[in-house]
Amino acid sequence: MAQSVLYAFMAVLFFSFLFNVPKRSVLVTATIAGIGYMFFSISQGLAGADFTGYFVGTFVMAVLSEVAARIMKMATTTFITIAVIPLVPGLGLFETMQFVVQNEYTAAVQTGTHAMLAAGTIAMAIAVNTLIMKFLLHMTGKNKQDR
């Protein structure tokens, strides 16, 4: 597992150059991705369900991105959109279309549903984190930092 965390770190590191992520946040983003991927694989093994892994992994990434955004005074989305790449179900969407163009509709529906649910879970984890963050800011009365 340490291996796959390292791979996720490296993949995101080079991927972030493609999206021209600001230089001072590249390493931070890759580290967030690595840590999140670690939680993803751990929780997936523990709960036995795919979507728990997606939720926990993305949630950890979102929290870390929020922290990094406060410290480095950058928008949270700069970190989270790149860090979440190893979890995002692009491959599932691609496989779905691959089944569709080969007339294997049953398999397409199966992988397609899984990909959609995974994407939904990831989006939900990010949204839940945003909600919690807004609530906390509201409680402490410091609601001036942008998202």
Binding site: N20, I82, I85, P86, L91, V100, A127
Partner: protein, 263 residues
């Protein structure tokens, strides 16, 4: 709050137009662009302002004394790439503007300079794409051989992307061509060297092209109530996924028809 003279409105409009164009063209979310516009407007004493941002354009109107003195601009955005450094600096400029650190003239100069950006680092991007593709292959369970083939085909895809960059249908073309290039290189390499797993190589090498992020963002936009943006991004993701799959399958089928094995 700064008091605005009627004559200054045009400067403000220009700055807002440049900022929203830069942010939208370089991959910022629509709600973030709207948020930035609203923040800038709030720092002046406008009576009303309204911004509507969708992935293909910006609609914005502002007035000092109600509907009789309305100022409007519409900006159509055609090319969309992702460049988070530009988004970030546009954001910083808007923040400085609202804090009053930066004047409107200075902001205009900086934003216009950002619009005509310098030459891109082609070699660097090619290497980055290749290595990224390679490590995704490793992440999916590939070996060293799969890593190197994925890295090579990733680099070739990025070179092709430079070639097609100016085209109107860039996303569609590069997905189709990228899928074909990746599948061709992966098939050829696994057949010639009789080792490696071509499925893993293809999966890793197309990873940077895949629209998983667009899909996730589409769902998030819809959850927030940005329905137009959600549907638009979802469609984009679907088109990219379809053309990638078609590109890959064309090559694999042709390979089969030519009597090749290995499928």
């Amino acid at each position: 709050m700064t008091v605005v003279a009627e004559a200054d409105i045009h400067k403000i409009l220009k700055v807002i137009k440049l900022i929203s164009q830069i942010m939208l063209e370089n991959g910022a979310e629509t709600y973030r662009v709207e948020d930035t516009i609203v923040r800038i407007c709030q720092s002046y004493d406008f009576l009303e302002f309204e911004a509507l941002v969708i992935p293909t354009g910006v609609f914005f109107s502002v007035s000092l004394e109600g509907i009789s003195s309305n100022h409007t601009f519409i900006k159509r955005v055609k090319r969309r790439t992702v460049d988070l450094t530009k988004v970030n600096s546009a954001n910083t400029i808007s923040r400085k503007l609202t804090e009053g650190v930066l004047s409107l003239e200075e902001a205009t100069v900086q934003l216009e300079a950002m619009l005509r950006s310098g030459p891109e680092k082609k070699l660097f991007l090619t290497v980055a794409y290749g290595l990224s593709a390679g490590f995704f292959t490793l992440l999916f369970g590939g070996g060293i051989f799969d890593f190197s083939i994925a890295a090579i085909s990733g680099a070739v895809v990025q070179l092709a992307a430079f070639f097609f960059k100016k085209e109107d249908m860039f996303h569609f073309i590069i997905s189709l061509v990228g899928g074909m290039i990746t599948a061709a290189i992966a098939m050829a390499a696994t057949q010639i060297f009789a080792m490696g797993n071509f499925e893993l190589i293809i999966s890793g090498a197309i990873m940077p092209l895949l629209p998983g992020l667009a899909m996730t963002n589409a769902i998030r936009d819809s959850m927030q109530g940005d329905l137009v943006s959600g549907v638009a991004r979802g469609t984009e993701a679907l088109i990219v996924a379809v053309s990638l799959a078609v590109g890959v399958i064309i090559v694999l089928k042709v390979w089969l028809l030519m009597g090749g094995g290995g499928l």
